[in-house]
């Protein structure tokens, strides 16, 4: 039986109370002024009119955006987890992350029609961070290039070559079409897909037509979801070491194209692609010793997406038909498991749909539901065999946000669960922008799950985290 997190309910009540508060207007008599003249004393907003804005030439250095952040988070609920009857293990409260990070983004249109864009991140894992512990109680570091592409635009065409992201689908957070790039859910402090999506080396060609756009990509080095990092909340000691796919001399590629058209109040898109499933299938080593054998699987994706705006309501719809996906593959975000190797290829249909509703200037609510079904699921199964994903399966996600103080304060809450009601994640977030450079955020995440969900290992976990950020 699932339980709602009392913190979320309390937060909702607080948000409602905050919004409902209405003060009496300030009485301003005519003697109140900004200045002795009619004019407002603009100096209180800085000397914007006195600055020299005539120069339009920018230096290469101005293309940099830097964000430095320090993050702390941890699991704070002492409890025991019982994934199987009669087997339980304790979950002690502990600090999970204590890390200093830097994100750098660079964009430079260095010549007419040319653009170079790059972004990367560095992390220093400090005392008691799980990566610190995994590194035998030593400070560890990690650096990663996210984007790195060169773009050439001319006429109605644009070509981007390099490390980049291709996103399909309208539903935010759990679209069945958002499968081009692989992803990594390393920490339970982040659940937004845009933070977990990883870039790949691609060539992307966009054609901007009179009334519609065509976007195509080819990826000559497809990558797969990385195995969980040792020490992270998602890491469990496997029977065999989980390695990346051994490419040997094989040439792997992915390719796809999307046609998109906008109408008044609506956008639609059709897409087709040849892809590899982002999640590898791991099989036991033949000899019974050594590393698990990572197996890839290629499949065909056909899709359609649409949205429709009706006043303050935006409806989203995605549909995907996948040909020859591995029916027994297991693909819960962030997990990499050894599954029973049935190696059955099946067709699958899936849809994600939902809405976003702007309650008023400050508040918005969104709902997304993802449903998938394997076609002819029983075909090819031996007596007694079952698929990991049987029947219809999927997830749902609800978000609420309230923006206050001219957007300086954003309160948000998210509920996410699976259709079988086996698990529920509840997130409460607060973001406060202190000034033009400094911001601070906090998160509370509660997880509830029963034994039918892989999240049972995190059942009754309660995580609290905070991040302070300096941007320039």
């Amino acid at each position: 039986m699932l339980r709602f997190c009392p913190l979320i309910i309390l937060a909702q009540l607080l948000l409602t109370k905050t919004y409902a508060q209405q003060e009496e207007p300030l009485i301003l008599d005519d003697s109140v002024s900004f200045d002795t003249e009619l004019a407002i004393d603009d100096d209180i907003f800085g000397n914007v009119f006195d600055e020299d804005t005539s120069s339009t030439t920018s230096s290469w250095f101005e293309g940099f955006t830097v964000r430095i952040n320090q993050q702390f988070s941890g699991q704070v609920n002492n409890h025991a987890v019982e994934p199987f009857p009669g087997f339980s293990f304790p979950r002690e409260s502990e600090l999970e992350t204590n890390r200093l990070g830097i994100n750098v983004r660079y964009q430079n249109a260095f010549a007419p029609g040319w653009l170079l864009q790059a972004s990367g991140q560095g992390r220093i894992y400090l005392n008691n961070d799980y990566e610190y512990r995994a590194n035998k109680d030593h400070i560890d570091t990690e650096f990663r290039i996210n984007e790195f592409f060169l773009q050439r635009s001319f006429g109605q065409e644009s070509i981007k070559f390099g490390r980049q992201t291709v996103v399909w689908g309208e539903t935010v957070g759990n679209s069945v079409l958002d499968v081009i790039n692989h992803s990594e859910f390393r920490d339970l402090t982040i659940i937004d897909i845009e933070d977990a999506r990883l870039n790949q080396w691609m060539v992307v060609w966009d054609h901007f037509g009179e009334s519609s756009n065509l976007s195509s990509f080819i990826n000559l080095y497809p990558e797969f979801n990385p195995a969980a990092v040792r020490g992270s909340p998602f890491f469990f000691e496997p029977l065999f070491n989980l390695t990346d796919y051994d490419r040997e001399s094989k040439l792997l590629f992915e390719a796809g194209t999307q046609w998109k058209k906008s109408f008044e109040g609506s956008d639609i898109a059709f897409m087709a692609a040849y892809l590899y499933e982002n999640q590898l299938l791991y099989e036991d080593p033949v000899t019974g010793i050594g590393d698990a054998v990572a197996e890839k699987n290629d499949f065909i994706l056909l899709g359609f997406s649409a949205n429709k705006a009706i006043g303050k309501l935006l409806l989203n719809f995605d549909f995907a038909f996948s040909h020859d996906v591995l029916a027994n593959s297991f693909d819960f975000p962030g997990t990499s498991t050894l599954s029973s190797p049935l190696n059955l290829k099946k067709d699958q249909i899936g849809t994600s749909f939902g809405f976003e509703y702007a309650v008023d200037n400050e508040q918005s609510v969104s709902l997304g539901i993802q449903v998938q079904k394997i076609l002819d699921a029983e075909e090819g199964l031996l007596p007694g065999q079952t698929l990991v994903n049987d029947g219809t399966f999927g997830s749902w996600l609800v978000r609420y946000s309230n923006t206050l103080l001219n957007s300086d304060l954003v309160l948000s809450s998210t509920l996410q669960g699976d259709l079988e009601a086996d698990s529920l994640l509840a997130l409460l977030g607060i973001n406060y922008t202190i000034n033009d450079n400094w911001a601070i955020s906090g998160q509370i995440i509660s997880i509830n799950a029963n034994a039918d969900s892989p999240l049972v290992f995190f059942a009754e976990d309660l995580r609290i985290g905070t991040t302070i950020t300096y941007s320039f």
């Binding site: 207007p25 109140v32 901007f208 705006a309 200037n361 923006t403 103080l405």
Partner: protein, 297 residues
């Protein structure tokens, strides 16, 4: 962050051209407002604007308004162009330059004069990697007026037209900061009242320049809930304009100042620039912006 309107409307709706006011004293309240409105519309085409939007909590100290905290500042660049048979529809694209945390966020808006047509807005967030349509609705219709970039300005505050939906009374003449002004009262009709949060607006229109120097917005209980003050009224390219506008929310005690740092109009703007491509194709956008900047020189 809520981004729901067109900066083109913001910029141009608040500009007023100079009109010779022959027999100005004989004008009715409606005619005064119509002149201002027509003037705004005539300058609402093919514009390039650089603006700064500052917001803070304010206080009154010794009869003077001051920011009680360091103001939060956004720097924006916007391009807008009018369309339609009477050039009453506006397409605009706005890019956030500062603060660093919001740099590169782009917004494309199509605002339609026809109240039967919903305005359209698309947002580009680099973190999401795609253009996203926003449920913005139509500020002219049943939806609540939308905040502009999280500021105290709403679409309603910067709107033009629809004067027929108001009863407009000329209350009299007075002075506002050494300038002779008409005091004009605007009361929404029953239909308009359903779309507005104000029961009454009092405008102080400069008799010579037709610039609104002050606006008072009242709620249904006759309480003044917001006040707009204009300053730096300057003649730029034969256009009288208030380059600094401050909206005070008297309920929350927060204010926002909109400073038009640079404004250029009558530019040659390609139709293709006001499409989704400008949001996603940074190479194209920068190339086209450079062409626009060359027109400024």
């Amino acid at each position: 962050m809520k981004l729901k309107s067109t900066l083109g409307i913001i910029g141009t709706a608040l500009l007023v051209t100079f009109f010779p006011h022959a027999s100005g004293q004989e004008l009715t309240g409606f005619e005064i407002m119509k002149r201002s409105d027509d003037a705004v519309r005539s300058t609402n085409d093919s514009s390039f604007i650089r603006m700064q939007l500052s917001s803070c909590k304010f206080g009154v100290t010794q009869g003077r308004i001051t920011c009680a905290e360091r103001a939060r500042v956004k720097s924006l660049e916007s391009v807008a162009k009018n369309y339609g048979p009477e050039l009453k529809d506006t397409k605009s694209v706005t890019i956030t330059l500062e603060p660093a945390a919001e740099r590169g966020i782009g917004m494309l808006s199509y605002a339609y004069e026809d109240s039967e047509r919903d305005n359209e807005t698309w947002l580009y967030l680099s973190a999401m990697g795609r253009v996203k349509r926003i449920a913005a609705g139509n500020s002219e219709e049943e939806t609540e007026p939308a905040s502009l970039f999280g500021s105290e300005f709403t679409t309603e505050d910067t709107d033009t037209g629809k004067l027929e939906e108001y009863t407009i009374n000329l209350l009299g003449e007075t002075t506002q900061g050494n300038r002779d002004v008409w005091q004009v009262e605007m009361i929404p009709s029953a239909e308009r009242a359903r779309k507005t949060r104000y029961s009454r607006v009092v405008e102080y229109i400069d008799k010579e320049r037709f610039v609104s120097l002050r606006s008072e917005m009242y709620d249904q209980y006759e309480r003044e809930v917001k006040r707009l003050m204009a300053s730096r009224v300057e003649l730029v390219n034969d256009i009288w304009m208030a380059r600094s506008l401050t909206m005070m929310n008297l309920v929350t005690n927060r204010l926002s100042n909109m400073a038009f740092v640079e404004i250029y109009t009558d530019l040659n703007i390609e139709d293709d620039f006001l499409t989704q491509r400008t949001l996603t194709d940074a190479a194209y956008r920068e190339t086209e912006l450079e062409k626009l900047r060359s027109q400024l020189n």
